[in-house]
Symmetry: C2
Subunit: 904 residues, 2 copies
């Protein structure tokens, strides 16, 4: 028969720390602390299997549960000396949730369970404190009415109408009647009368009395905790955190201890190291004569536990070390034992009841990025963990925090953002609002920090985006133009801030009732997706000067198998990425290079050309620009491979669509505006994503491919003459059939021979490969590899075509899909392993079946996503490529994948 209840207490426990799946995190750690001889109030854990049973069996319990609970209560009595429900020497208990992974505040808790008319007198005798007992009783009634009875009655009151508020109002009335303002000013008599009033009100409103039986209270509380697993808040939280619905929660029933029983009682929370810096000092706060919730609530300023963690605000208050040195030493001893046992920083809750220390919880402590890196490196130095474990200790997104200025979390805590959006580019920025790209460039030119605020951005805004510290858009998703460009440049960016009403003509941004004008200062937190009015302080860590970080990333490099390249189109970005550890360029897009003023004109003339001669003339003008661009990039990446993708986007993206612009273009081209308009209209497509783009352009207009190949190869030849080791890899986009690649490769190799002959540079190594981004290319990879000298999975487009999602349009249904759990997360952010991932596996296997050891990489957004990187590691890819600021994150994620040995 299954065992549903695990007891702990008195230095013994039936459970262990590694039973989190069964006992939840809290229960498993309470058991483990008992086993370590750390003082823990006795109790027991009802397993997560009961939760599963509860939902599978119409919200009932297994038959054997009641007997097991009774036996566990009996065991508690044996350890604690008092007994649950015993009128003479009653024991009170807390009933708390405890899931496998912490879900703070998302489920229910009931304290002081066991107080009723039969046990109150005994409790008063035992504590000698009638006021304390009735205060505990009124807390129990309030909590129980709210958590158990109101929900059981099926009431879902609007905010401000629930039973809890009604009871609080009764208490306020009592305080008013008594002429006092603090709860603590109410006497035992007041509280006693209040408890009676509470119970009447509960019965009147909820139609059932507050139960006067300890056992009924206990089972009511246990049921409420299980019910709360499927409460709206908990479900919502699980969606965000990716916690499966079927895990369920455990329930922990534990003897109450009280930190509010006078001057020899206290309560506190502590971290075994400083969670904000990682420094190896014991760090915590406490309050004398208080309950746990008081420390968190912030109504009293908590004391520091020791000198090391005193701050400005509590400098004047005595430390625990000063006031209760013995107990502090006991706690310090607990700290050392826990850290050595768990080999990680712990987050503790403790209570001192009348001079006796009790530990109520231990769990791995949350920390910020800088602290995570420091602790990991320090603990290796202290011999607590090895490097492989150290690498697993830092979450990739924590590393992100080290690479960007951050909005100071202390300042941000508790502040209401002006607006929220999607966190499209991490980091923090402060600047003046600019509503157009030109205005942003102008302000930037004056040395002013700028936040560019647009409805959405287009390639014509890039100069303003570049000039800005941060970019904010009202529309668009995580893969909108703004998001892609911002991430490429490591700029702070928030997109999809629907609350912003932008009026460019009036020069205003309106949020609700507040109106901002161009030039007003705002603060942007791109890590959280929040905008604040006014200036907030930023914290800046220079990653290149951070030795701890360098050490840590060095270990990552030693451990990983996957190479890390970067996506960069400009020499500055390439250089930045190289400083961040990039081992080459995996994707150099050439189309961004066409947006300079003179370039776009030549580009448009090329597109609108009516004869091959006209097209050739325009291309001749583009050639020197492109050659110069490639020269800079090859130089920045000397000695490392640079993968250049030939022209990819649909041509309509380069031509104007407004009448005035078309007229101007026609004038500069000396053409009839009607003819230009006709050609522009002719270029329009129903589904440009699946239209005339990628290598289809190069096949229709071979002269475009020739020009680009020439620009690349001439630049490489020039540099090699100078002794610079330029390593070009030319990548043909949107190949679906090997013959497309064959056609383009032939052109490229012809140009190669010409350039060799013209420049006299014979040693001009170049690879010709392809993007694998059309499903057909992955399916026929064995054939494609007959021509391709490398593969690079373009997982953005591969996802679009494999799932049938247009990235531009998916906003109408994809959020609903994620909300409904159809896709666990946005497949454009983290690769859809079951679907798109299969094509990555098939394509890699197919390509290498033809060409052994074929170099296979990934460019596109997924190359910087840790979960995707783990998948690519398992798939046996050679490298990932990501935006410069994600290079360190990719190095870490690749190392973690190697250490975890994940394979799909």
């Amino acid at each position: 028969m299954a065992k549903y209840v695990y007891t702990f207490g008195g230095g013994q426990a039936e459970g262990r720390a590694d039973q989190k799946e069964l006992l939840g995190g809290k229960g498993a750690n309470l058991a483990e602390m008992c086993r370590l001889g750390i003082p823990v109030p006795a109790g027991f854990t009802i397993t997560t299997e009961v939760c599963t049973y509860f939902y599978d069996h119409d919200r009932t319990y297994p038959d054997s549960l009641e007997a097991e609970v009774d036996a566990a209560l009996e065991a508690m009595a044996g350890v604690m000396g008092s007994r649950f429900g015993d009128p003479d020497d009653p024991l009170l208990v807390s009933v708390r949730s405890g899931a496998r992974q912490s879900m703070p505040g998302m489920m229910e808790t009931v304290l002081n369970v066991g107080l009723c008319s039969s046990t109150i007198p005994g409790m008063v005798r035992k504590t000698g404190n009638e006021r304390f007992v009735y205060d505990a009783y009124r807390r129990l009634i309030m909590m129980y009415a709210d958590v158990v009875l109101e929900k059981a009655a099926g009431l879902e009151p609007e905010e401000g109408e629930g039973i809890r508020l009604q009871l609080e109002r009764l208490m306020d009335e009592r305080k008013a009647a008594r002429g006092v303002t603090l709860d603590t000013d109410l006497t035992a008599e007041d509280l006693k009368a209040l408890c009676d009033a509470f119970k009447q009100r509960v019965e009147a409103v909820l139609g059932r009395p507050f139960p006067d039986d300890p056992s009924e209270q206990l089972w009511g509380a246990v049921g409420a905790v299980f019910q709360s697993w499927n409460g709206a808040r908990a479900i919502h939280y699980r969606r965000i955190e990716g916690i499966p619905d079927e895990w369920g929660t455990a329930v922990n029933v534990q003897a109450m201890v009280f930190g509010n029983m006078g001057a020899s009682s206290a309560t506190g929370v502590a971290f075994t190291r400083n969670p904000a810096t990682g420094e190896n000092v014991f760090y915590g706060e406490w309050l004398v004569n208080a309950q746990g919730e008081d420390v968190v609530a912030g109504t009293r300023t908590p004391n520091a536990i020791n000198e090391a963690c005193r701050t400005e605000t509590n400098r004047h208050l005595p430390t625990l070390e000063e006031l209760m040195p013995d107990l502090y030493r006991q706690l310090l001893d607990v700290r050392d034992r826990l850290e050595h046992h768990y080999r990680d920083m712990q987050d503790l809750e403790f209570t001192i009841q009348e001079g006796r220390l009790w530990l109520l919880q231990t769990r791995t402590g949350k920390r910020n990025g800088p602290a995570a890196v420091r602790m990991a490196v320090d603990m290796v130095g202290e011999g607590l963990i090895d490097r492989r474990e150290a690498v697993l200790r830092v979450r990739p997104d924590q590393l992100d925090e080290l690479l960007h200025p951050m909005v100071d979390p202390k300042e941000e805590a508790g502040r209401q953002p002006l607006a929220r959006g999607l966190p499209a580019g991490p980091g923090g920025a402060v600047g003046r609002i600019a509503l157009t790209a030109d205005r942003a460039q102008e302000l930037g030119g004056l040395g002013e920090p700028v936040v560019l605020v647009r409805a959405e951005t287009s390639p014509e805004d890039v100069h303003g985006m570049h000039a800005a510290q941060a970019i904010v858009t009202a529309k668009g998703g995580m893969t909108s133009h703004a998001a892609l460009v911002a991430r490429g440049w490591g700029k702070t960016c928030v997109v999809g801030c629907g609350a912003l009403e932008i009026d460019v003509a009036a020069g205003t941004v309106t949020v609700g009732d507040t109106v901002f004008r161009e030039g007003d200062v705002v603060t942007v937190n791109g890590t959280r997706g929040a905008i604040y009015a006014g200036e907030m302080p930023l914290i800046v860590i220079d990653p290149e000067k951070n030795e701890t970080l360098a050490t840590f990333l060095g270990w990552c490099d030693d451990l990983r198998r996957l190479g890390v390249r970067t996506n960069a189109d400009r020499p500055e970005d390439a250089a930045q990425a190289r400083r961040f550890g990039a081992e080459g360029i995996g994707l150099c897009r050439t189309e961004h290079m066409f947006f300079g003023e003179e370039r776009i004109r030549a580009m448009r003339e090329m597109i609108l050309a009516e004869t091959p001669q006209e097209r050739a003339r325009a291309l001749d003008r583009l050639l020197p620009f492109q050659r110069e661009d490639f020269n800079g990039i090859f130089r920045a990446m000397a000695g490392l491979p640079v993968t250049v993708r030939l022209l990819d986007p649909p041509l309509p993206e380069f031509v104007p669509h407004e009448d005035a612009q078309i007229e101007e273009l026609a004038r500069t081209m000396g053409r009839d505006p009607e003819a230009v308009r006709a050609r522009v209209d002719q270029l329009q497509e129903m589904n440009p994503m699946l239209g005339h783009r990628g290598c289809r352009l190069g096949i229709s207009f071979p002269e475009v491919t020739r020009m680009q190949a020439r620009a690349i190869l001439e630049a490489a030849a020039e540099l090699r003459k100078e002794g610079v080791d330029a390593r070009a890899e030319i990548m043909v986009p949107l190949v679906g059939h090997v013959d497309e690649l064959r056609d383009q490769k032939r052109l490229i190799l012809e140009v190669l021979e010409q350039v060799k002959a013209e420049t006299g540079v014979d040693d001009l190594p170049v690879l010709v490969g392809t993007m694998i981004e059309v499903p057909r290319a992955a399916l026929t990879a064995a054939e494609v590899a007959e021509e391709a000298e490398f593969f690079s999975f373009g997982t953005n487009d591969l996802t679009q075509m494999t799932c049938g999602f247009s990235r531009d349009d998916a906003g109408t249904f994809l959020p609903l899909y994620v909300e409904k759990g159809i896709y666990p997360q946005d497949p454009f952010q983290s690769i859809d392993q079951a679907g798109v991932g299969q094509l990555v596996l098939l394509g890699t296997r197919g390509g290498r079946s033809t060409r052994e050891g074929l170099k296979v990489g990934v460019c596109g957004e997924h190359g910087g996503d840790p979960a995707s990187i783990a998948f690519f590691h398992g798939a046996g890819l050679d490298y990932v490529s990501c935006s410069p600021f994600r290079v360190p994150i990719a190095r870490l994620a690749a190392a973690q994948a190697a250490v975890s040995g994940e394979a799909p």
Copy 2:
């Protein structure tokens, strides 16, 4: 050492009929005829391997070829008694091409090779006919100059400027000078002088003399034939017919025989059966004292060979049977031997030289559709072939000819079409031009046959398309809206007639200089893609009354494994398809049902609804329409399964986009036009193909799915109450993830339970399955089959997404791709087996791994394409579904696949 030359003649041959790959069709059959003892002028075949060698080795021959040719000439001398180049008793030869598959007129021929100054006297002696010899000589010079010398000189004269024309002009001048009009009026002396003039002109114009050496003539002619394999005409023909470039041609060198040596000579062509009707009678034409080209040229009316094939035009001329009864009996004997040997209808060429019969060629004869079916059925009756072979004897496109009225081929021959376009819907039609759908409906209502001529069609034109006999569009491809709708209805259709300039306002269609007005009569041949001015006669065969066809299709049904269903949205179409042998409906689209006037209004209100209540009201109005539609279809298909696809296309397809229409819609809806315009704009998508459509609609708006499920199930329940066996299969479109299907299936099954309860019909069998049209669905088919009770591959969309081709936009590059040979054919017409086909295989295997014996079908255009059907047969699918008029074709193609046993 390879053998390059195969001799034949004198009842013996080195080659055989099954060596077509090596000897070409002509050479193999000449050899076979020799082996059968049929009189064939002796000769030899230079193999196709020499052609391959020729192109692989810079247009040179294998070393051993010359010696083999010499030996073969020697062997010819042995059989024929005279010797090539022998001044005393010279033998003349013909040099002809002969590819594996006939390419009529696409390559070169040179006759009378071997005549020169040294052999002419001997030839004159031998024939006793100087005029005959010089006539042969001037023909040789003309042909040789044109075919060999002009090409060798590298001249590519414009039409009307070549050497041939210059020589013909010389001949005309001579006739004028002599005051005669017919070639035959020129004397031996005239011809002799003409030959000298010819030779002078040749040397003057082409810079080299006409060779006076038999051997040089022979090798020149052989080289010209090999060169002509890569002539522009031949390459173009191979592209159209799908003949691989690497096959190459053989060269046949054969002793000349002459049908123009007087009254006891003759020449003719014959078919062993009537190629136009299939009737088992010997059928042919001949001319006394003539050469082969005279029969074809049409300058003299040819005689019939026997009474049975006399026609109006040659009724007065004697038959071969009458004039040369002995030779006719010999020929009849040859006919019987050949037909029994080849067990198929043969197409013969014969020459009678001075009373002696020679066969110059036999090959399988071309035939039209009705004849093909009749011959196949007759030959089974005669015991020549079995049913399996009979089924292989009719090409699926020939069957098409039986199912539609045809433009009478006799009338069409030699007529110049007004315009050409793509053959989008087969058959022929005559009607009055209508330029709008309304006008078409109006004319149709008056009982006038109508040809609807539009730039392109949209769903708003369907009433006019339905009223028309034929549809012609100036734009669009084989899968344009017009093409799809026309094929669905079996209507004649020609699309992409670029030459048509349509001016709806003026009511005119202009083609070049010709202007047509609405109401003018045109004839459309949708099988060939041609439009003619005025009325041409049509031939109509009623397939249902054609017993031979019924017999033939019955054999197909016995042999095939693959089921054949139809795509039909209307009861009439369903009934038609059933008469054609459909075994159910594989795709009933519901969206066409929304285009009636009242329906489209409710549909638009549904789409533009701002609240679920508004949407529900609009849906309530649509429900009865849909129920009625399904009732009709289920009734027409009683006892057979009907697969209904839920709403699929993007919503913008249903709403108006013009200001006036939007205003009217707003008025009828009582809404602000601005608000309606805003909602219409909001619906617009960048890539609607990959946007908010298919099951994404049903997931966003579950009430739409519920309404459709209810309409289907209520209709089925109604009919079952009446005792009609309605078998509904509900198909969820655009599923990419099993959870999408799970979501929609749950809704459908909920409605099923409701309908059962409401109607009291408990026995309401229904399957819920899915389209497999998103690559991800095929890749995760094992999971999708957890929910799907059947699969139906939607290969149209699957092709779009797998290849990354938007069908609407591919016109800009796909024709180029096919021209360049990147795709052997348009993958929307015949399935891309290597790419999309792999997903069909993966999906089928995956689905059946979860659900053994899962029913898997194909809907979409490929279900009616014979090559695709063969693939689906091999892939183990259960059925294909196609438009009603393609059902018989699919039955045949499925049978052929089963007989051929093709497997991918």
